[in-house]
Subunit: 176 residues, 2 copies
DNA sequence: CTTTATACATGATGATCATCATGCTTCCAT
DNA sequence: ATGGAAGCATGATGATCATCATGTATAAAG
């Protein structure tokens, strides 16, 4: 049956939200369209009323995750600290898009435009043009690269001690 | 038909080699068992004479890629330079295992033991206990994290200028 | 108050896979 | 030499998907 536009828009939002979480948790190919729809309380049939294809959803869900991440950004020192926490390491679904999906995005052309925007905006958030200090841009690239790499390592490694060491040492190497 | 042991061993090696390349290029779920076998000149039927399952192959191919990577290791300055080159960025198949598959390995329990070994050995290669300088271990973790993160970013971004900037600035931030 | 299009559910469809079953041929142990 | 098993190819099997087709109830347009 037909539904009022607000309800439809709300469902659309929730599909995006669930997709953004599930994709970060299990990867693009690790989650089926059906699962995403089920997670939002609908069935697979409704999917194509909201998106053109799974690829389309992937691109849009990256924008969704990006927007939320940019809202929560902080100056470098605090950002590094929360980014390299064990809580972030253990909460992929709500965590950094880049660390969770960067590798797969490199193979998913449909996702790269949104990803590029996200990276550029994140760098600008870390090195505000207002500050415009010499080397601020380089420092942003350096810090972002380091925390992403460290998080990927800390998540992939099965030894909890090594995982913790990586987080800690990367934090210290970035000065606190 | 039956084949002499040397031929069989050689085929086994080539399956591993092709798998290690294809997985890095397209991800674990992006490559089928059939494709890998075809790439080595065999058919899918022979696969289970060599490995227990695809998961088994994944674990073994990580060991294969790791061994080759460790052979080619260098002291940090040179390592950083070649790691953050556009050539490495554009040759995922023969490049760093961690940057190409780190994200997926975090979701593949069967792969994590081999991955953990690889990370630990790489760190030891970058911070030789012989050198045993204060902070060598931290420096190794820092450098490795940074180059991995930078490579993931440079590969995922569709703007070639941004991609190049990331490689360059990360290199400079690590002191040339 | 009709009419129409929308949003959804259920149920195909066709493709892709990992894995298994079978049979043939050749190596190897006896 | 000979019986058995190894190594491979071909061809199931069954599961999982993305996507499409259809029916239906209702909101919105006229």
């Amino acid at each position: 049956m037909r539904y009022p536009p607000e309800e439809t828009a709300e469902k659309h939002r929730r599909i995006l939200e669930e997709a953004a979480i599930l994709f970060r948790e299990r990867g693009f190919s690790g989650v089926s369209v059906s699962e995403i729809m089920k997670a939002t309380g609908l069935t697979h049939g409704a999917f194509y009323n909201h998106f053109d294809s799974k690829e389309d959803l992937i691109a849009k869900s990256i924008e969704e995750a990006s927007a939320k991440a940019l809202e929560a950004m902080q100056p470098i020192p605090q950002y590094v600290k929360t980014y390299l926490s064990t809580e972030h390491r253990d909460d992929k679904g709500r965590g950094c898009l880049i660390a969770a999906l960067g590798g797969e995005i490199a193979r998913e052309p449909a996702a790269q435009a949104a990803f590029t925007q996200h990276v550029e905006k994140t760098l600008q958030g870390l090195a505000p043009p207002a500050t415009s200090k010499k080397g601020a841009r380089r420092q942003a690239i350096h810090a972002l690269s380091t925390i992403i790499g460290a998080l990927v390592l800390a998540r992939g490694v099965s030894d909890p001690e090594l995982s913790g060491e990586i987080l800690r040492e990367a934090r210290l190497a970035l000065g606190e």
